[in-house]
């Protein structure tokens, strides 16, 4: 009878713990979150792997939600760290028109200072990569017309070049995106040259360009998109730095960093090693080959000697 009751209580407690992962947080493990996109998961898995391998317990909150979920979550102390992009600082602090975000180093210093001061959130070493909005052209088209930079692209378009771009509505309409490129480089795409994909993500736009769907040969892309190289797409260089720099960096609550000061030096070399080409390759392993992001992350960390 008593045994029965105890067993039932135990089962109840187990169920409760399953429902409430935080209940058993005796040693205050670090709650690591990330956004649900490919790169977010890759970086999140890297952070968790590094922390776990060095004896820092973690709670896996990967794929927690988009910026609108994950930012309030860390502000309201519901998660402890996640990878964020420096350029988003412009929106967090309503400084969208400040040109400082177009400079990688200055933008990073700015958001680091603001977030530390106002929110006790620390930005650690960012990656040497930029996942900003970009325009990519299918390789055969780029080769044929010698397109390497957006300057080349503008010349081609203005010379009556047959471009057709697949993009999301946001990319087409947001003043900071396509209109900003058009203004800076002096070209103008006609309505017939734009294929707007409702809710289009870059996987869809790149695929449309790669497959030539509806005559599309150009795509909205992000700088570190994994699909680019494997699907034969070339990113045009933004020499005028029209776009803000989106360098991914781990952000962490100050209190948690103080409790686990080693995290800073553990992650710094890892993120320093991640340049744009590396991220593209790793993202491609996940998005195009379909490998598991955790395996991709751990394999990379081992190759580079960050993990044994």
């Amino acid at each position: 009878m008593t045994g029965d009751l105890t067993r039932r209580n135990l089962a109840f407690a187990t169920a409760l713990m399953a429902l409430a992962p935080n209940l058993a947080r005796a040693a205050a493990p670090v709650r690591v979150a990330c956004k649900p996109d490919t790169e977010g998961r890759l970086l999140g898995d890297m952070i968790i792997a590094m922390l776990n391998a060095n004896g820092i317990a973690t709670v896996n909150r990967l794929g927690l939600g988009g910026t609108k979920i994950i930012r309030p979550a860390i502000l309201s102390v519901e998660s402890d760290m996640y990878p964020e992009y420096t350029g988003n600082g412009a929106f967090f602090f309503h400084l969208e028109s400040d040109p400082i975000w177009k400079n990688a180093q200055q933008g990073y210093q700015k958001v680091k200072a603001l977030d530390a001061e106002k929110n006790q959130i620390i930005w650690l070493q960012p990656a040497a990569a930029d996942n900003t909005w970009a325009i990519a052209v299918r390789k055969d088209v780029a080769d044929q017309h010698h397109l390497k930079t957006l300057e080349d692209f503008a010349g081609w378009v203005n010379g009556g070049g047959g471009t057709k771009i697949a993009a999301s509505a946001e990319f087409v309409e947001s003043p900071a995106a396509l209109p900003a490129f058009e203004k800076a480089y002096g070209f103008k795409l006609k309505g017939s040259q734009i294929l707007t994909l409702a809710g289009g993500n870059t996987a869809a736009t790149i695929r449309a360009a790669a497959e030539g769907t509806s005559g599309v040969n150009t795509a909205m892309a992000y700088g570190t998109d994994g699909a680019l190289a494997l699907l034969g797409m070339v990113v045009l260089q933004d020499d005028k730095h029209v776009q803000m720099v989106y360098a991914p960096a781990p952000v962490i609550r100050e209190a948690v960093l103080q409790a686990n000061p080693r995290i800073k030096d553990l992650l710094a070399p890892v993120f320093a090693s991640l340049d744009t080409m590396t991220l593209r390759r790793l993202n491609a392993d996940i998005a195009v080959k379909g490998e598991d992001s955790k395996q991709v992350a751990e394999t990379y960390l081992k190759q580079k000697g960050f993990l044994k």
């Binding site: 935080n22 649900p36 695929r207 494997l230 379909g290």
Partner: protein, 383 residues
């Protein structure tokens, strides 16, 4: 002589699907669209074995409506369904031997149309056999068994869907359990609130309209908006009462998910509680009162049992709805199969989307069938 238009229509649909639509698609990698492979091309390499059962299904519309023939069609449908699944897996394996390692073979529209046509013929035949609800469930499980066996055997391992699964086996199992957990955890507050609410609306006419208008309005709020509305107050609550935060209550994760899903689940449940009690015959209640039962005795000895079938139907609808809705839990960090589905959507990987969606559909179908069995048991003498 043509005996059955429904079977003819289904068979014709299956044939049209097989003829006009690709059976599988072979893509150079996970992101690109595949090259369509027709049913005929797949048949050529060893799939002729399924032509036997296929022939039975094609002539089913002309067979006499007698039990032996009906059983024959049932058997043919089961073998045929397993056959085309095996065929797709075998062809994927064949393509994998020659193609690049990152190439993907996906089940294409023709496969799904043919499978659906066969499944509907099977369902129609099982219906006509007029089996008891329990026997129908056993038959349904039996029909699914060969396909389950194929999945477990690894014969389908080269299909993109199974590759997606293999790449994230742990994540999938965790997501599946999480999904079930969320649905169950939603049902507790839903029952605790929905039953009294439905009873209140039934007992007090003045409450009926307000209760259901409020629940109706809640139903129209998009889940994302509801999460947004819940985020701040719950986060504040967790800050104000740290003990709540320690058991996992906060602006993100399980707490807002269960609150939101409960709010959505209240309408179908409460509505059915009200309808179930309304449906208890007035003369039975009058007789019960007339013989001197107290209102408590009437509730526990009479109403509860007579209301049970409709209540269980309502619970069935509520659970099935919750299984589907739980997909959005992923948007607020509570996990579940929605996390896999959204990952697939973000990556434009259709098979990953399927990996998230298929178990949701199967779970809903299973719960639906199980609950229908319960309803029929409860309704046996309440007619």
């Amino acid at each position: 002589m043509l005996r059955d238009r429904v079977l003819l229509l289904l068979a014709a649909g299956g044939v049209a699907g097989a003829a006009a639509l690709p059976f599988v698609a072979h893509a150079p990698n996970r992101l690109l669209s595949g090259v369509p492979v027709a049913f005929g091309a797949v048949l050529a390499d060893g799939g002729l074995l399924i032509l036997g059962p296929a022939a039975v299904l094609l002539v089913a519309a002309w067979l006499p409506a007698r039990r032996p023939y009906q059983l024959l069609v049932v058997g043919a449908a089961v073998v045929f369904m397993a056959g085309i699944v095996w065929l797709a897996g075998a062809h994927a394996a064949l393509l994998a031997r020659t193609g690049s390692p990152i190439a993907r073979t996906s089940l294409a529209s023709g496969f799904w149309v043919v499978l659906l046509a066969a499944a509907l013929m099977l369902a129609e035949m099982l219906h006509r056999l007029a089996l008891s609800p329990a026997a129908r469930i056993v038959a349904g499980l039996g029909a699914a068994l060969p396909i389950v066996a194929l999945v477990v055997s690894g014969a389908l391992g080269h299909l993109s869907l199974l590759q997606e699964y293999a790449n994230r086996r742990d994540v999938f199992e965790e997501a599946l359990l999480r999904h079930i957990e969320i649905v169950l955890a939603t049902m507790l507050p839903t029952l605790a609130l929905g039953v009294p609410l439905g009873m209140l609306a039934q007992r007090r006419a003045a409450w009926r309209a307000p209760v259901f208008s409020v629940l109706n309005v809640v139903q129209t709020i998009p889940s994302i908006a509801l999460f947004g509305l819940l985020l701040e107050p719950l986060a504040d609550l967790a800050r104000a009462v740290p003990a709540l935060g320690r058991i996992g209550i906060g602006g993100i994760g399980l707490a807002p998910t269960i609150i939101a899903l409960t709010l959505y689940s209240l309408l179908p449940l409460a509505r059915n509680v009200t309808a179930a009690l309304d449906d208890v015959p007035a003369d039975v209640l009058e007789a019960a009162r007339g013989m001197g039962m107290t209102s408590g005795q009437i509730l526990w000895r009479v109403e509860l049992w007579l209301a049970l079938p409709i209540f269980l139907s309502g619970l069935r609808i509520t659970i099935v709805q919750a299984i589907g809705l739980t997909v959005v839990a992923a948007l607020i960090g509570a996990g579940g199969l929605g996390a896999i589905m959204f990952q697939g959507l973000f990556a434009n990987a259709l098979d990953l989307v399927m990996l998230g969606v298929l178990p949701v559909v199967l779970m809903a179908v299973a719960v639906d069938a199980g609950m229908k069995l319960l309803v029929s048991l409860a309704a046996r003498h309440a007619a």
